[in-house]
Symmetry: C2
């Protein structure tokens, strides 16, 4: 494992990928998609090794399932790459162009980020997805997957590299760190000379570890302690339908609702409608005093509850006196991901949209829409919860930077 060499190769590859036309990149992606399907048996054989090791080590069945590939999942990986082919190439776009009084012609042009590092957990499909998006945006990637999926990731990477080489594209557009050694991962997070950005994909623990240890710029993604605020003026049938959707439609995702904030004037009415609607899903409510008084047997919510992304059939509930208090609560406990208000009051909707500090702020809709496809951007690398560089769904454009070119005729600064 020579990380410096890997970094140098990635940088060189990045400079080459940057020069490819949209057609050349699409041809490469098509070749990779075909190769994944054609080599499905080899991928499944490698995946079997990971599965056997995981079972031997006593891995929870849910996690083993996340790790498992089959013919359909491999086809889905290939289809994901074909969807990326259909997305417009963001590179080369002229963002601004102007001529200064001294005659200098300044143009601002979209360029790739360069080398993107991705650190991710078990799902081996991320290997192909992340490569596809980064590559289409003109970047080289260095991937560090979970050690549980190492055999699968190695085989997928091998196939991608081979397909690229066959298409006369540098295989170093994708490199995989094959070591499970933590010191290597730590060194990777400090490879500032070669890596332009690190994107962790996984649970809160992984993201925290990357933020705390990385000197390379990081984009934080994915942690979503999402709230729904039911205002006094809300249509309660709409509120209940949205809450049930946002909580239960898919339980383990970052845009699922984790906490309710309810105007005290409608608290009793909302809870009496909500409890039976959530009952089929066995959702546990954890409430403040006001909530517990109305719902006997309700688990009292702690301060920790309000700050927790459950990813489970649990909802914390807090009563508030008005929109301002709701906003204050959400800004204190939220993770700046997706927050919603259910209201028929335009002023409250406006205040909520202006003052809630989150990537996506909803009025009368489910938080589950925070997603690259739902926004119409196509495949995404993640949902950014930080404010620097990109916020919310990160598609191809968010995997780019820009440069200024300045054309002169001999100008010198007086």
């Amino acid at each position: 494992m020579d990380l410096m060499l890997m970094g140098e190769k990635a940088q060189t590859a990045g400079y080459q990928v940057q020069k490819l036309t949209a057609e050349e990149k699409n041809m490469g992606l098509g070749a990779v998609a075909d190769a994944l399907v054609n080599n499905a048996d080899a991928i499944l054989a490698a995946n079997d090794k990971d599965i056997i090791k995981a079972k031997e080590s006593g891995m929870h069945e849910g996690l083993v399932d996340r790790l498992r590939l089959n013919g359909n999942r491999i086809k889905a990986m290939a289809e994901g790459l074909r969807e990326i082919i259909r997305l417009a190439d963001p590179i080369g776009e002229e963002l601004e162009s102007f001529i200064r009084p001294n005659g200098l012609h300044i143009r601002k042009r979209r360029v790739p980020l360069g080398v993107i590092g991705i650190i991710y957990e078990s799902r081996p499909n991320v290997t192909a997805d992340a490569f596809g998006l980064c590559f289409k945006a003109g970047n080289a990637v260095i991937l560090k997957g979970g050690s549980d999926a190492l055999a699968s990731n190695m085989e997928i990477t091998r196939i991608i590299r081979e397909a690229l080489a066959d298409a006369c594209i540098t295989p170093d557009a994708i490199q995989l760190i094959e070591s499970a050694d933590r010191s290597i991962t730590n060194a990777f997070m400090k490879l500032n000379r070669y890596v332009n950005v690190l994107i962790p994909r996984g649970g809160a623990g992984l993201i925290r570890a990357v933020v705390e240890n990385s000197t390379v710029p990081v984009i934080e993604t994915g942690t979503g302690n999402c709230h729904i605020f039911v205002d006094e003026s809300a249509r309660l049938d709409m509120a209940v339908a949205i809450i049930v959707n946002a909580k239960t439609q898919r339980i383990g995702v970052c845009n699922a609702c984790e906490s309710l904030v309810i105007h005290e004037k409608v608290l009793s009415e909302v809870l009496s409608r909500l409890a039976p609607a959530l009952a089929p899903y066995h959702v546990e409510l954890r409430g403040d005093e006001a909530v517990c008084q109305i719902l006997p047997g309700c688990v009292p919510a702690t301060d920790e509850d309000y700050g927790t992304e459950y990813l489970d059939y649990i909802l914390s509930v807090k009563a508030v006196a008005d929109t301002a208090e709701a906003i204050q609560h959400i800004n204190r406990y939220g993770t700046k991901h997706s927050e919603a208000i259910i209201t028929e009051d335009k002023a409250n909707a406006e205040q909520f949209m202006n003052e809630v500090d989150a990537a996506c702020v909803y009025v009368n809709a489910s938080t589950r829409y925070t997603d690259g496809f739902e926004f119409g951007f196509g495949a995404e690398i993640g949902i950014s919860t930080q404010k620097l560089h990109a916020r919310g769904p990160m598609g191809l454009k968010e995997l780019t930077s820009y440069k200024y070119t300045v054309a002169g005729t001999g100008q010198v600064r007086p």
Copy 2:
């Protein structure tokens, strides 16, 4: 020093500043500008304390001068704020607006970053400049200045806070860390809960320390190992004029030229014209073998020379066989700041602009133009040399983020 409390106050202040109209912010900035001029005596008295301490500690006269304020420098600080008043307010701008097939109306709006941390060295004028830019872009700032300038910074901050309070604006829009304790600075760099971005302003050592120790997202600014490549087809009179300007017009700035790359076919001719042109400035040339053969007595350049931002009357010189080799050399040793080609060949110019990896790439102009005012953006907080978030001159827009608002009519995800 309770950093957590400072952070909380800054966050709250940020949410308040975010709500101010352009008029309110401009009124605040005007009040601050007046107050600085009206309290010049108090600022100078505080500055005297810093100067006496600096002299007692044996500080180099050049550094003492950087630290020193006088009536004109205070007026310049006020004038800087008045220039910021004249800049358009970036906040609230609608960047995109579209309606999805399901009826969701998605808008992308420019919002402040929130809380910006600035860590800087001696110059006390940065206190007012940095506050002005961050405030106009709707942010709160926490400043950590050099301990040499502590008395000056405290007095300037006190006056700004008082002027804000008199204008009915939260004084916590600016807070100064008054401790010189390194452990406080380190804790500040890890205040992720409250600080959205850290911008170091100062020398390479300061910037490196911030990048290495901060868990808050950092924008790297200012290190400029800028090259000028003289192509075979260059007009040599233009090349010499640009090199002299970029090297000597102002020696200690990040966009000054530090290294020459010269096409071997014109090496001898360029050097014979350049040597006398640089002679009046006593610029020392450090060259590779080819250069030293032509210029007897030339200091041989080491690998370290090529990577050094001298900020002094020294230039490294390297001969290359073609544009591709020049690009490779620059991408290896540059700091991604500003790079120039002097050429009459359109294809070489195009290749250089496309392939050199830098914030600003020049054709036939001096690198000294990389500057917010020269670009027409107005005052800047620094020149970003990273690719994430902002690249090149960072004005008001680069001190903002965005959010998506999504207006629905009860949509739930199928």
